[in-house]
């Protein structure tokens, strides 16, 4: 225990609130987007096309056919890119509604927890991150953590896991480091 001023009730209320809002946001998204047939077919197409692209990339061809093969891969990749754009634009409506709801909720929550330290960081965050970890907090001890950082971490984890568990987002072989459409070596 580092600081007797830090009450675990505050921290766990934030975690509960983040779980609740993340669950609600995903329910709204499911209601507006994920359950629609358009979304389901688009998701299926993206999954099969990305598998196809991966297979084409791995295919070994003779030198004379290499150019044609490269062209084929580029074409499939640009199709995949288009489909991904379609997917994000189909999500637009729900994203907007969820964002508005989140802004209202977070501003209420942060005014309730104004100046309240909810955790102690075991590291000093770099300056860009400090605007989040030290938001609305007095003092210059940068290891004091505001509610927003805990909220964002929890909410990201809960949403990612809900999406993974229910299979809402397409399963593509692209990892988080790859730009879709960029050549892979």
């Amino acid at each position: 225990m580092y600081d007797t001023d830090i009450a675990w009730v505050d921290t766990f209320s934030i975690i509960l609130a983040a779980c609740f809002t993340a669950g609600l946001a995903e329910t709204i998204s499911w209601f507006l987007i994920y359950r629609t047939d358009d979304y389901k077919s688009l998701k299926k197409n993206i999954e099969s096309l990305s598998k196809q692209v991966e297979k084409e990339r791995e295919k070994i061809v003779v030198a004379s056919k290499q150019k044609a093969q490269e062209k084929k891969v580029t074409k499939s990749e640009s199709m995949l890119k288009n489909m991904n754009q379609q997917l994000s634009s189909s999500k637009m409506k729900s994203t907007m509604i969820v964002a508005l709801f989140m802004i209202a909720f977070i501003s209420t929550l942060s005014s309730t927890y104004q100046g309240v330290v909810v955790a102690k960081l075991p590291f000093v965050p770099f300056s860009l991150l400090q605007s989040m970890t030290h938001r609305n907090l007095p003092g210059i001890d940068m290891t004091d953590c505001s509610m927003i950082f805990i909220y964002v971490l929890t909410s990201y984890l809960v949403r990612t896991n809900i999406q993974k568990y229910f299979g809402f987002s397409p399963r593509t072989p692209f990892s988080m480091w790859d730009q879709p459409g960029a050549p892979k070596y």
Binding site: I6, I150, P173
Partner: protein
């Protein structure tokens, strides 16, 4: 549930890439939580802990894929990079909470 956990720790050299990546997603997050709780309760501080975590997570993931599942066809980079984000976030959260309250 129990059967899928059993499957995730049984050797299966012919495993589909998608299935392995799904297991990776959950296994890495649990590892992130465990490492986070250890680092927090032992009061480790500073950025070197994050670097050590990244190396340890990658090593355990490769051990899991190569020795437990015994896959041969999936590239090491895919195994290391898959679900790194959620695992990292769960590590940071567990680290902060256990450092503050334990």
């Amino acid at each position: 549930m129990a059967s899928s956990i059993g499957k995730a720790f049984a050797a299966d050299p012919k495993i589909e890439k998608d299935d392995l990546m799904d297991y990776m997603h959950w296994v890495k997050q649990v590892l992130g939580l465990i490492f986070g709780i250890i680092a927090g309760s032992m009061k480790f501080t500073g950025f070197p802990v994050i670097i050590i975590f990244a190396i340890a997570l990658s090593a355990v993931s490769l051990f899991y894929a190569w020795k437990i599942i015994q896959t041969e066809e999936i590239e090491a980079w895919d195994i290391v990079s898959e679900a790194f984000g959620p695992a990292f976030f769960s590590f940071v959260l567990a680290w902060i909470l256990s450092y503050t309250f334990l």
